[in-house]
Every structure is written in structure tokens, then in C-alpha cells.
Amino acid sequence: MAEATFRIWRGEKGSGGFRDYRTEVGPGMVVLDAIHEIQATQANDLAVRWNCKAGKCGSCSAEINGSPRLMCMTRLSTLPLDKPVTLEPMRTFPPVKDLVTDVSFNYRAKKKIKPFQPRKPDRPDGTWTIAQQDVERVQEFHKCIECFLCQDVCHVLREHHLYEQFIGPRLFVYTAALEMHPLDTADRVPELRGPDGIGFCNITKCCTKVCPEEIHITDNAIIPLKERVVDRFYDPVKRLFRVFSGSARR
């Protein structure tokens, strides 16, 4: 069996450095397998998050050779193994230890978003009638596994650290799922423009490129949300119409 070198970031609260580990590479192995092998035999205390090992839980996010990916879905056969494979934690979030970061920002930001508010049930038994084609648009957003790789790569957070003014692509996907939910009645457009900071996004599409669930974050979530903001706040005809009709919504 061939061997490969893994250059892994080891450290606590930001101080630390890379250390090299060599391990055997078997058929079909993913990066997380190599980490587990190193953890079991050479570095018992190597900190890493994982759960499903099948790309379903979004726990094992890291930067592999500089690109944000899931360790459990990155096959070693897709990486050049003649050079060391570098493994770093997501750099946008405060480091905890080794490959583990403090992702609590994402949970706090989500809690500020207005929760789901359904319209009255359509049927006497408390259920709704919804067509398959109307759920599909939102089902795309519901595929999100909260790996936060899109947050990691977005320059508004990564370089400009606007954590207090910008909720980031994951939470635009979340907001889009609520806004486009066929049953939802709440209005989140003012917040999008205000505290959620959708205006900071300049549609670089970096988030879309890293999403392991292949959600079209920019095209299907962010751009339609931006359009709602524009329609509401900047379109003079619609604004006038709203004044006369007294409607507060869309």
C-alpha cells in the first residue's frame, strides 16, 4: 500500500503550527479515514468533528489543500499524493483546537431570523394542499446540511469580519426557504435589507462553488431575495402602489 503525508494544523485558540503525519492509503479512502487512522495510532488527541461519514451531517468541514470541503466526501484519489495534503480548520471561525472551530456565530445569527409562520390550514383536519412543483423550489434549500463551508469562503465574513452586520450565505438560504415556503406568511424583507446585510453580498458566487449539496445559493436564494428588497425599497412604482393599496407585503 502507498503512503501519503498529511500536513495537519495542530494548535489551540489560534496558536500552533503544521505537523506532518504519514499513513497508509488504501482503496477508496477519504480524507476523514486518514485522519481517523492518524488519530487512532499517532495522535489520540487530534481534534476533529464528524458524525455520519457520508456527507449528511455537515460536521467535518475543513480546508483541504486550501479549499473548503467535507473531509468525509473528499477521496484521496482526487488529491495529488506526491505532495503533503494540507489540512486546516475553517479560517473564518474562531479556532478551538486542531481542526475544530467555534461555529456558534451561525446558530446565533439563525435565531434572530423570524421563524416560520404558516397560513391557516386548508382542510378541516388541519392539513394543507400543496403541489409538488411548489415544494421543489424550497426543497432545494432544505438540502442544506449546515456545514458552513459557504460561510467560511464568503469574503464579507472571512476578510471583512462583518459578523454583526451580515448573516452570510447559509442564512440567506435559510431565509429564502422561509420566504418562498408555500405556507409562510411572515415578512423578512426589512430585516434582509437592515440587520441581515444582504447588500454586502456582491454576488461573487464563491459560496455556490463550495456547497457540497450543490445548492444554487446565489442564483436561487440570494438574487431573488435581493430582488424582493429592491422591489420593496427602491422601486418607485411599487412603492406608490403600496401607499395607495395600504399593503405592507410584496
Binding site: 477508496g28 489520540n44 488527541d45 451531517c57 435565531k111 426543497q139 432544505h142 405556507l183
Partner: protein, 603 residues
Amino acid sequence: MAEYESYQHDVLVIGAGGAGLRAAIEASAAGVSVGVVSKSLLGKAHTVMAEGGIAAAMANVDDRDNWRVHFADTMRGSQYLSHPRMAQLHAQEAPARVRELEAWGALFDRTPDGRILQRNFGGHRYPRLAHVGDRTGLEMIRTLQDHGIHQGIEFYMEVTVLKLLKDGDRIAGAFGYDRERGRFRMFEAKAVVLATGGLGRAYQITSNSWEYTGDGMALAYEAGAALKDMEFVQFHPTGMIWPPSVRGILVTEAVRGEGGVLKNKDGRRFLFDDVPANYRDQTADNEEEGFRYTQGDKNAKRPPELLTRDHVARCIMREVREGRGSPHGGVFLDIAWIKNRVPGGGEHIKKKLPSMYHQFKQLADIDITEVPMEIGPTIHYAMGGVRVDPDTQMSDVPGLFAAGEVAAGLHGANRLGGNSLSDLLVFGKRAGEYAAAYAKEHNAATANKEEVEAAARHALEPFERAAGEGPYLVQRDLQQVMQNQVGIVRKQGDLQKALEALPALQARAGRVAVEGNREYNPGWHTSVDLGSLLTVSEAIMRCALERKESRGGHFREDYPAKDEEFGKVNLIVSKGADGEMHLSREPVPEMSAELKEIIKEMK
């Protein structure tokens, strides 16, 4: 003296999967203060991995379905070892629990008339599983999480509970540590709900994550609660087997529900060769009829691929053993063949099974719309667990409740697919409701401080040992024993040997040393998890030795038939006053006259 931070709640929920979240939401709605602790981050519990769907007799697809049929199916699947009252409540309440999810924002796949779509699954007579493609668990956990964070519940993420605390006989709280800093935490509570899931990590080849070390069962056992049905471990027939690094990862039963067929190396649908007598009337006579069933023909009967999991898993083992397996020691699961039979062909498959398509494409370089998958059995689910009251979910310890996979009773000798997610909702809600009521009726309890000190000392011991073996090797060796000697095919000699190997493993676990410090140290976490793994493994071994028959998930090569006497009892283990594990037999709870009538009618 150990240092720790203290927190007070009326109800403490341990676990943030479907059962824990549903319990917390219910308890909070009753107006008590609720805390939830979990080993992982919110939204990452096992529930997120569930694929196929939630079983509930809503009759949206087939109007012949109702709770009575679901009840009868569950009892038949359990080989009549389920607690009948639990099976009844589950079947009656599941539809309302699913609709509730929709009211909280879940978006299920739809029927043509705009209602929740339901799909076929093994052992369910009619299409019954509400689903979202093959990522139902994600939809469920996210819906509960996103609803739950607005209910005033306090969440403690990445906190592992080490010990349940008591005040005399009753529960008083729990003691644990946070993974990030390694600091101790004490939670005082009037009532505690265990929702910690299963124990798949006791085995080598499993669909389960690192979290599944049987903590909840071990915690309850140590606190004096009885465990039940521990011999019944479910082997899911279809896990990935190649490449080696993906071995055990689940291939959802929905593949078969959508028309996937199992074949041996000669291309034979071997499941037609062996249909158990009690399912013969419900099983298709030929391949064509089976296919029609999967495509919604109400007059067709189920293909044998949708027989119960225990049976399908054993048939696969037989094919492999007798030399008719696939190159890597499994059999073939073929969904690609339906391409020429359904509108949309390959696209239809991708749409119905998107994550399976993705999983095989990425992890195995296989396009499931073109070629068959290679699959084999993988450890999947613990039917056994904490014995609870069917209505309230309270264990033998006053104030200690359990719901979800950690609890026993609903599934008996074998769980039907889809019956777990519904179990989490139905009994999670009940546990939350009754835990809140218990908390309201009782004064605050006082935790025993000596227990806290002892638990803290014990947890830190691995740091104090200068030299010693690391915990991962002990875990590996235990997994090997369980896989080889307490696995899918069991016999007296093997089980005996496994039991004899246990003291040495226990001694090694007591001597492990960990390097590094307390901050996010997986070596340490693994060393403390070993205790739970060993406890649940011992329970499985002892019960497996005792049950000298084959039934459901428990197959004894030396007693291959069912034994009527064993069909009347559940096996119970509990910790005796002498500190040893004690085993007893308990008659299966009597059915009410109404339920007996249903069983008779649907035989």
C-alpha cells in the same frame, strides 16, 4: 474537590436527535424550564442521517390503511415481542405527529392531489412512509431544531453526560463535561429524559456514528433502571461494502421501495426462494407482480425484497456463504433496471434517490442509474434499551424517562423501517409531556455530591496514568469480538468466548492512558465512552446466550427455529445489589381484547 458549573432545570433532556428535540418542545410547551444537552452540535445527531421516511398510517396514498393495520404490521414485524400498548399508541398517534411537522415548516413530497406522499417500505402493508426524497431525517431534525430554538429551551451543545445523579430513589440530574474545554458541568433537574440513541459503535461494520456508544442505556443501567430486549440488534441488509473505507454506510431501503431488486452473482432474485410462511399471502408470486407493487398497483403484492430486515439480511448472508455472492462479499442491489420501465428513466431514479446517487457517485465511483450496487448487512439499530412505561415513558427510576432508540418496547425482535422516526415523534412527545408533569408535581431534588466527586475522579483517571495503552485499540478489539462472535449469526460457543473475553477488555479499559490535555481531546472522550460500550456489550452477550432460539434480529445457528416458550418472554437485565449484571425473563405484556381482535383479523 472537583470544580464544576451548575445549572438548574425542571426537565433535563439528554440528546438532541428527533426524540430529544420533540421531548424538549413538549416539555417547554407545558411551561417548565427545559435544558437539552448533546454530545454533538445541534442538528448533527443521528436522526439527520435517516433516509427513507416516517411511518404513519395517514392513508394518503392507499385509503385502506389505518392505525389498526399499522399496529398489526408492527406486531408481526416484531415477532410479537413488542409491548402491544406501545405499538398501539405509536400507530394511533403517528399521523398527528407527522402533520405537526408540516405545521412547523417541514415540506414532504406530495401526492398528485397535494397531500403528503407516502412510500412503500419493508413489512408495511400499504405505502406508509412520509418522506422527502431520501433525506427525511434531515428534514425532520432541521424542522424540530428550527422550531425548538424559539421555544425558550436552553441548549448545551457538545456536552457529554457521564453519570445520572440521584436523590435516594429518584432522579436528581446529571453530571458531565463540555467537550470544548473539558470542564465539568452539573445539571440539577426534577426530571430527566434520556434520548441518547443507540449502540452501533460496539460493532465494526455499522451505519452508526461515533456517538452511538450506548451511553443512555449504560447510564440508566447504572442508575438502577432495567434494560430490555438487548439481544435484538438490527442488521440492515443493505450497507455499502466497497471500497473498504465506506463499509457499513447505509443504502436506504427506499431503493427497494422504489423498485430495486436483490440478485446474486448468477443474476437470480434469490429472495423468491425463501418466503416465510407468515408473509406468504402478502408476497408477490412473480417478479412482474413485485414490480407493479412498487409502482403503486394496489392489486399487486409486495416483492420479497420488502420482507422484514432480519429475513433479508440472513438470506444475503446465505448467498454469500454458499458462494453466490458478489466479488467483495455481498450481493447486488439493482435499481438501474427500472430505467426502461418508468417514465424519465435515469432521471427518475436520481429524483427519487438523490443522496444515494450522490453517495455512490462520490464514494464509490458508481453510477446507480447504470450499474448495480454491491451491498451487504451492516449494524443499524438497537431494538432493545431502557424499559419504560408505555404511556408515560418513565423507567424504573422515578423521574427518569427514556424515548427514541435508547428505549425498548416498540420494536420487539425486529424494527420495521420508518417505525423509528415515528417512534421518536410519538414517544418523544409523550416523554416530554410526562416529564414536565412529573417536574410540576415534585419539589427540587438534591443531587448526591459524593456521586459527583466519584464520577469526576473516575473521568480524569486516564490523564493520571503515566503510560498505558490508548483507548482506540481497546475499542477496536471490543468491536472485533462483537462483530465476530455476537454478530448476525450467533452460537453458544462463540457467545461464551465473547463473554469470557470481556473481563480482559474491561481491565484494559480501566488502564487506558490519554495524552494531551482536557481541551477537545477525542482520545479522552473515547476512553470515557468505553465504559458504556462495555456495559451494553455485556448485556447483548448475556441476553443472546439466554435466548436459545432464533427470532427477528437474533439468530442462533445452534437453535435455528423459533421456540414457543421464548416467544412469550422479554429478557430483562439490571444491576444487582452485588454490582453484577442480573438477567431475568418477563412475560410479554398482555394484549387488550380489542388488540387481540385486530391481530386475529389481520393474521
